[in-house]
């Protein structure tokens, strides 16, 4: 991504992309819903209407903070991690496998080990793309995506395989993790739990690391201009690999938290969309870790809102896919004042 010289116009561009997505959604609701007023009310009020709704909103906002932080870290260093879906899912599998193997007597210690396993799995997947980039000059945008796309069906296969698959269940899912390793729930029966709160200190940690340390300075320099970073004597290999590995690790953590805190088992497709939404968050936050939190909660709100509308039968299909699509399509565009931007000659 090309660094923008004027932060004000780039911020406006982001708002325009979000505004376009929102207008699209409201128009669709108004035109296609059998009951436009009810649909709009469900859309804007639904996510805030009860303790259960609040719990789900907080849970999703914090999970998106994690995956958004993950995507943003890689963006900041000029690497695109498009493999968040697979990294999250694999992290969930690793955490569950650890929870099934560890002795129940370990209690919270076992939870920590299982979370670490999730981080390690995501880190391996992300780091592999980084290594392929450094070693073979294989574009990480493509390898992260494809490795993730091949990991998802593999996790699906393992989930129902011997030793892990649930014998009797309506859903396609694994055996449940032992209750001793579950993260305590908050605002039950919502999806919220204590585990996702870890997102906030992590934002502070990476916010300081990226914005206020020499390490972060070199990382940002990589993102701005890789050739200059090399000229300045920065180890471009290290700064191409480590952000991708960290990004994968944070995705893996999100997956592990989903398994140990909410699902308590590995359910097919439980983390679907977390990776893509994380990318949308990072594109909105523009690689600034501090901006990740509001961006994540905004997207979480939109997602919960569209779920409410669909659940209440006000709309026939998932709006949130349309949101992601519109945001991805417009967010890297130079919409604002294209005539005065650096348009290439046609």
């Amino acid at each position: 991504m090309k660094p923008r010289s004027n932060p004000l116009t780039s911020g406006v561009g982001t708002l325009v992309a979000l505004g376009l997505a929102l207008i699209l959604a409201v128009l669709l609701l108004a035109m296609l819903s059998p009951n436009p007023a009810g649909a709009l009310r469900a859309f804007f009020w639904g996510p805030l209407s009860s303790g259960l709704a609040w719990g789900n909103l907080l849970n999703q906002g914090l999970l998106l903070t994690l995956t958004g932080l993950a995507a943003s870290l890689a963006f900041g260093a000029g690497s695109f991690n498009l493999g968040g879906e697979g990294q999250t899912y694999t992290g969930g599998l690793a955490a569950l496998a650890a929870a099934l193997v560890l002795p129940v007597a370990w209690g919270p210690g076992g939870t920590l080990v299982a979370l670490t396993a999730g981080i390690a799995a995501g880190m391996t997947l992300g780091g592999l793309s980084g290594w392929l980039k450094v070693r073979f000059d294989a574009d990480e945008m493509i390898t992260t995506f494809l490795l993730s796309a091949s990991a998802v069906p593999l996790v699906d296969a393992v989930m129902t395989g011997p030793g892990i698959g649930a014998a009797e269940s309506m859903l396609i899912q694994s055996r449940p993790a032992p209750e001793a390793f579950w993260l305590p729930g908050l605002l039950t029966p919502s999806n919220f739990h204590v585990g996702v709160l870890v997102a906030l200190p992590l934002v502070v940690l990476f916010g300081i690391l990226v914005n206020h340390t020499p390490w972060g300075y070199r990382l940002r320099l990589m993102g701005r201009n890789r050739d200059f970073a090399r000229y300045a004597g920065i180890s471009t290999g290290f700064y191409a690999l480590v952000p991708l590995a960290l990004s994968g690790g944070l995705h893996g953590l999100a997956g592990a938290l989903g398994v140990l805190g909410t699902q308590h088992a590995l359910v097919q497709g439980f983390s679907a969309g977390w990776g893509w939404n994380g990318i949308a968050v990072a594109l909105i936050a523009r690689t600034n870790p501090w901006a990740v939190v509001p961006a994540a909660f905004l997207l979480a709100f939109l997602d919960q809102a569209s779920r409410t509308v669909v659940l209440q039968g006000q709309f026939p299909f998932q709006l949130s896919a349309l949101f992601q699509a519109a945001i991805l399509f417009f967010i890297t565009a130079r919409i604002v004042l294209p005539r005065f931007g650096d348009r290439r000659k046609a």
């Binding site: 392929l132 073979f136 294989a138 574009d139 069906p153 893509w276 299909f317 399509f329 890297t332 565009a333």
Partner: protein, 287 residues
């Protein structure tokens, strides 16, 4: 077991030709997966309502071209990242397809057609069309001034600029053509099956990118690569039914194969162009 699995080969070949046009113009179209799905529904709906096969192919081509031009508008005019914008399109098209099939038929499920696609002396006519498109791609891309300029837009935009020629118009044409061919591939897929099934493209739009790189980005080798991949798919279908292999392995294999091929081509490119250390042909806005 067919010697030439036409039904698997034809859609893949057409989609790969679509990928080829965009890649040669320097704007690799990765929205093919979504465009195939959209083309499949467009064709099936047209046949369902008009019963006209030729019209259904034209409708798929037109809708595909429209999505390609939408992508071109986003990337060339608004300056969006081609990869990210195409991913947006890949999310948007299945949502649109799901909505259209839901509102017309009240479900997200299967739409069946009665008619079988035409066959000419044992060879499906669709395959002959695909073969014709391969010949046309070779002829247009490598033996006309327009094709030369289009390839130059991909490899050396600076040269084009020095000659006072723009690349934007050519890339727009390539993306439109690419989308049209992707949708046509999807139409062939659905019409051969005689039905629209949700997720009918099943990764074929991504496998087309494998075939593109395996086929050295040239029409005839691409045909050979598609044939090899069609055999692989036929073999894996057989394997799945005979030996009861986990389906996840079979489903994950195409992407895994793409990574391997992609890394190998990247490594080869790095070896053969020392000193550059990065790809030259991408008209991306980053870096």
């Amino acid at each position: 077991m067919n010697l030439i699995p036409f039904d698997l080969l034809t859609p893949l070949l057409v989609a790969t030709l679509g990928a080829l046009w965009s890649e040669r113009a320097g704007v690799l179209n990765i929205a093919l997966e979504g465009q195939m799905l959209a083309g499949a529904l467009t064709a099936v709906l047209t046949v369902h309502f008009t019963g006209n096969l030729a019209l259904s192919l034209i409708a798929a081509l037109a809708f595909g071209a429209l999505t390609g031009l939408l992508l071109a508008w986003g990337t060339l005019d608004l300056g969006a990242d081609p990869f990210i914008a195409a991913l947006g399109l890949n999310l948007f098209l299945p949502a649109l397809v799901g909505w259209v099939s839901f509102s017309l038929f009240g479900n997200l499920g299967v739409i069946r057609l009665g008619a079988a696609p035409p066959v000419w002396f044992g060879v499906p006519v669709f395959f002959l069309v695909a073969l014709g498109l391969t010949v046309a791609t070779q002829a247009l891309l490598f033996h006309t001034p327009w094709g030369l300029r289009l390839r130059a837009a991909g490899t050396s935009p600076a040269l084009m600029a020095s000659r006072g020629l723009g690349t934007k118009g050519l890339q727009r044409q390539a993306l439109g053509l690419s989308g049209a061919l992707g949708a046509l591939g999807g139409a062939f897929l659905a019409l051969t099956l005689g039905a629209f099934v949700p997720g009918i493209s099943a990764g074929k739009g991504w496998i087309a990118l494998v075939a593109l790189y395996l086929g050295l980005r040239r029409p005839w080798p691409v045909l050979a690569a598609c044939l090899v991949l069609a055999w692989t798919e036929q073999a894996s279908n057989l394997l799945q039914s005979v030996r009861n292999l986990p389906s996840g392995l079979v489903l994950g294999l195409p992407s895994l194969l793409t990574v391997v091929v992609f890394v190998a081509t990247s490594a080869a490119k790095k070896r053969f162009s020392p000193g550059t250390g990065r790809r030259l042909s991408r008209g991306r806005s980053r870096r």
